[in-house]
């Protein structure tokens, strides 16, 4: 077995990460940038990082993912990457003709101290940025943070670059959807529009990273938040930020920059978190919740009531990104499951508190952890179900515990790109997956005489 080395006994490990539960900032920044229409992400560093980030996103979404790279060599690493970036900006606008270049740094360019603001200003002065085109930026050194912070930084980069407060407030509500799938972003849009609310959702990777088969390759698919909308976001009457870690910084920056007040909510995963989101929309939009939405809610709750005996007391272990873990832990607790272990690779002080609030005091929580530690927790207390990304499958197999793939990356299944896990419909999908996993297991293990047709 692949993981037979994992010992049960947990020892302090300060210098070592074994089987990481996170990746680095740039991949998150790249993902966020792809949620802007006609935007080409650009990695300011050496080629390798960019190749890895593109591969990671390609494997997860099964879509082509484009990004430029400054192609650092030894020279750039010693003398700085200014010349490379200036040349890159010029080349990219000439050849690939995007509307926006979203530059993020890597560990390397951060460490040598390249100043993105100064370099991009210089590019503008030298006429390398055509009229009506933009270069936006984010600092994403990976020795601080993770892919989640990289996402947050680039969303903030979007806010720094586009929204303008013209003094004419509109009736629109901005929604920053958080580090979720394209399918989730479109579900969030759908819920708002179902309630008759005008929104600007950014970033929005739907129809970019879950696009249709068209018979031709488009460097810039039809999705992504359009620039005029991003500019108008400065006149909106409010911002709802979903997930404090991934969306909070951008929402606050927008408040400071354009005086658009923000509300920072949990990711709407599960019934209660979705209730909160829907209720905020209702209040801010001055509307009432539509029958359609109430029906969806009722259906999801119906599944829970019908099947609550199968959820009751079942133990779960969760590993993934912080905003997702908080909502997911709350949802599983709400349906009667016992959340036993929660690990996130991203560091953050409030994580532990938020998980305990969601899942009770005696849950094992770890921020900045890795898969090795997660596995040890499970060895010490077995669970009935694991929810985590594809890497969890090693543990799932080793311990013979069913796994539901959830989070980033998912390399070995499809569905996450197309079907949401946010909102009531997302809750329904999660419930279906959880039930299928638990009932399949029960069927598999049932004695001949207890093997039942109706469950």
């Amino acid at each position: 077995m692949l993981l037979r080395h994992t010992p049960k006994e947990i020892k302090e490990r300060s210098a070592l990460t074994v089987n990481p539960a996170k990746t680095c900032q740039p991949v998150g920044a790249m993902y966020a940038a792809l949620g802007v229409h006609k935007c080409l992400p650009h990695s300011h560093g050496s080629q390798g990082c960019c190749a890895y980030h593109r591969s990671a996103l390609t494997r997860h979404y099964k879509e082509p993912v484009m990004a430029g790279t400054s192609s650092f060599t030894e020279g750039a690493s010693v003398f700085g990457g200014q010349a490379n970036l200036l040349e890159a900006i010029n080349n990219i606008f000439t050849i690939y003709n995007p509307d926006v270049i979203a530059v993020h740094t890597t560990c390397l360019s951060e460490t040598i101290g390249d100043d993105l603001t100064q370099i991009t200003n210089k590019a503008k002065e030298e006429g390398k940025v055509p009229d009506g085109k933009y270069v936006i930026k984010a600092n994403t050194p990976s020795y601080v943070g993770s892919h989640v912070t990289g996402f947050a930084n680039m969303v903030k980069g979007i806010v720094d670059a586009f929204p303008v407060n013209t003094g004419h407030k509109t009736n629109t509500i901005n929604i920053i959807p958080g580090y979720v799938e394209p399918s989730d972003m479109s579900e969030i849009k759908r819920i708002a529009s179902e309630m008759g609310i005008k929104t600007i959702v950014f970033p929005d990777t739907s129809n970019v990273l879950n696009g249709p088969q068209t018979g031709k390759y488009d460097m810039y698919p039809s999705g992504g938040t359009k620039i005029p909308d991003l500019i108008k976001a400065g006149d909106s009457k409010a911002t709802i930020a979903l997930g404090p870690i991934a969306s909070g910084p951008a929402a606050k920056a927008l408040d400071t920059k354009c005086k658009v007040p923000c509300e920072i909510l949990k990711l709407p995963i599960g019934i209660k978190a979705t209730d909160e989101f829907v209720d905020r929309l209702r209040i801010l939009g001055g509307v009432s919740v539509s029958e359609e939405i109430k029906t969806e809610r009722g259906q999801a709750v119906d599944v829970i009531t019908d099947m609550q005996q199968y959820f009751a007391g079942k133990k779960a272990a969760l590993i993934g990104d912080p905003d997702q873990m908080v909502s997911l832990a709350g949802f599983l607790t709400d349906i009667g499951m016992k959340v036993r272990h929660v690990v996130t690779g991203t560091s953050g002080k409030k994580f532990e508190k938020r998980i305990r609030e969601a899942a009770g005091e005696d849950v094992n929580v770890k921020e900045g952890g890795d898969y090795f530690y997660f596995h040890q927790l499970i060895k010490n207390e077995k669970v009935d179900l694991i929810l985590g990304n594809s890497y969890s499958k090693y543990i799932s197999r080793d311990e013979d515990i069913p796994l539901i793939r959830f989070g980033f990356p998912i390399y070995d299944r499809v569905g996450h790109q197309y079907n949401p896990c946010v909102g009531y419909r997302g809750a329904m999908r999660l419930l279906e997956n959880i039930l299928n996993a638990l009932l399949d297991r029960q069927d598999r293990d049932a004695l001949e005489e207890k093997f039942e047709l109706v469950m």
């Binding site: 080395h5 490990r13 210098a15 070592l16 990460t17 074994v18 089987n19 990481p20 990746t23 680095c24 900032q25 080409l40 650009h42 560093g45 050496s46 080629q47 390798g48 990082c49 960019c50 190749a51 890895y52 593109r54 591969s55 990671a56 390609t58 099964k62 879509e63 082509p64 993912v65 484009m66 790279t69 400054s70 192609s71 060599t73 030894e74 750039a76 690493s77 970036l85 040349e87 890159a88 080349n91 000439t94 050849i95 690939y96 560990c107 390397l108 460490t111 040598i112 050194p141 990976s142 020795y143 601080v144 696009g211 088969q213 068209t214 018979g215 031709k216 390759y217 488009d218 890497y391």
Partner: protein, 457 residues
């Protein structure tokens, strides 16, 4: 169609046979801003060394470099699996400021105590190259303390391309070679260099040679063991398969231990057969080996021919585009596709050199595009223009092919089914067949899908 703009700096890197006459420009660094499909030094050394299954592989750097290479390249093991973990020092800001050597020492030390590997490889990535940790000193100290070879793989990404990473890997392996006891090695022994056992290929090839009466001393590095590497200098011949990555090691071993080497390819019928006969020819003192090679070839061919001919019938006249890592692979592929009756309309590589491309020009048909370090825009454009039916490439190319609505065959890291040897040729044909002939291409939305008449040109 509107003319495709080629980056100014890239003009010399695209060539159409029969039309252009210039020498293809290659081996140059990618233009800044280009969407390149290339990777870095670390990537090169990691993929070569990763299949050494009883060694510890510790990535010294920030988390990303380790996270992305965690079990990303399949490589099957018949025993230990220490290599399949992802170990990282996960450098933080404070380490970047004050240096990470201490942390590296601690991490490696703990890991060696726990896993008791036969050797340890420490990969220094970009940041480490920059902050200047004395990794060499840490390795030396650990080697002495733990009594195993602890090797610094100097692989800062910015110092070159994947190719330079291969070189760094070869240098690391060379440090192990020559340190083991070779007294028991049989006289007709070879090392296989540049076979990584992604999907069990090393086992297939080993089986052929064994049936010929040739002992495979070490596979470098597929299903690799440190002890085998240490003994590699005991073989009579080095057989180099992935020339791009391993010729350098063969050269080192030639110089140091006087072991000759031959270049082979295990891909396609002709090349596979030559690979067996060439080894037999080297051991000409024992003509039985040649005889037995003949038997292996006959048995294997007999087994696959009926299947292969069925595929050929269906695939004859179809067009293929290929974009692979090394150019050497491209030759084998072109020949293999010809066996299937297919034409190659585009051949490109990430890291070909001048001679490679001159050879490619010779073997390609008129009209074929030859391309160095391509980007997706160019690839998709030429695939469409040349009406290819299948693209053969790696992970980043796959979704491009599917979006265009043509077949795809992975010839890179993500293989699950072996393509080497005779059985592998049948697998390859089968994969190309099922992708090209997939009924799904008939489902692609067309002008007349919903009843509208196709507009006449």
């Amino acid at each position: 169609m509107e003319k495709l703009k080629i980056l100014e700096g890239r003009r010399g890197q695209v060539f159409e046979k029969g039309k252009d006459a210039f020498k293809l420009n290659c081996g140059v660094k990618s233009t800044s801003g280009a969407v390149s499909q290339r990777a870095c030094v670390f990537c090169g050394s990691r993929v070569v060394l990763y299949p050494i299954t009883d060694a510890l592989h510790l990535v010294h750097g920030p988390i990303g470099c380790a996270a992305y290479t965690w079990d990303i390249r399949g490589s099957m093991s018949s025993g230990p699996v220490i290599n399949r973990h992802s170990f990282s020092t996960d450098l933080r800001e404070i380490d970047v400021i004050y240096g990470g050597a201490e942390k590296l020492y601690k991490a490696a030390s703990q890991l060696i105590d726990k896993h008791k590997p036969e050797a340890a490889f420490i990969y220094s990535t970009c940041i480490v190259g920059l902050i200047g940790d004395d990794v060499e000193a840490v390795c030396k100290k650990l080697s002495e303390e733990k009594k195993i070879p602890v090797i610094n793989v100097d692989s800062a990404g910015f110092k070159g391309t994947k190719k330079d990473g291969y070189k760094a890997a070869c240098e690391s392996i060379a440090k192990l070679v020559g340190t083991g006891d070779i007294s028991m090695i049989a006289p007709y022994s070879i090392n296989i260099l540049g076979e990584f056992n992604l999907a069990g290929e090393a086992w297939i090839i080993k089986d052929y040679y064994t049936r010929m009466g040739v002992n495979v001393n070490a596979v470098i590095t597929g299903d690799g063991r440190v002890a085998d590497l240490k003994r590699a200098h005991g073989a009579a011949l080095n057989v180099v398969q992935c020339a791009g990555s391993m010729t350098y090691l063969a050269e080192i071993m030639k110089k140091k231990y006087n072991i000759p080497f031959i270049r082979v390819s295990y891909f396609g019928l002709d090349d596979m057969t030559s690979a067996l006969y060439d080894v037999a020819a080297f051991f000409e003192k024992n003509p039985e080996i040649n005889e037995r090679a003949g038997m292996v070839v006959k048995d294997e061919m007999d087994a696959i021919m009926p299947g292969l001919l069925r595929y050929r019938k269906a695939l004859s006249g179809k067009k293929a585009a290929l974009y692979v890592g090394g150019a050497f692979k491209a030759f084998s592929l072109i020949k293999a596709l010809r066996v299937l009756g297919m034409d190659v309309v585009l051949a490109g590589s990430q890291t070909g050199n001048k001679e490679d491309y001159e050879d490619l020009k010779k073997i390609c048909d008129d009209g074929a595009i030859i391309i160095d370090d391509a980007n997706p825009q160019e690839l998709s454009r030429y695939i469409t223009e040349k009406k290819a039916d299948v693209l053969i490439g790696g992970v980043k190319e796959r979704p491009i092919a599917y979006k265009i609505g043509i077949g795809f065959c992975d010839h890179n890291h993500e293989r699950k089914i072996p393509l080497a040897g005779y059985a592998g040729m049948l697998n390859f044909a089968g994969e190309v067949y099922s992708s090209v002939m997939s009924p799904v291409w008939k489902l692609v939305l067309r002008n007349d899908t919903f009843g509208q008449k196709r507009s006449r040109p």
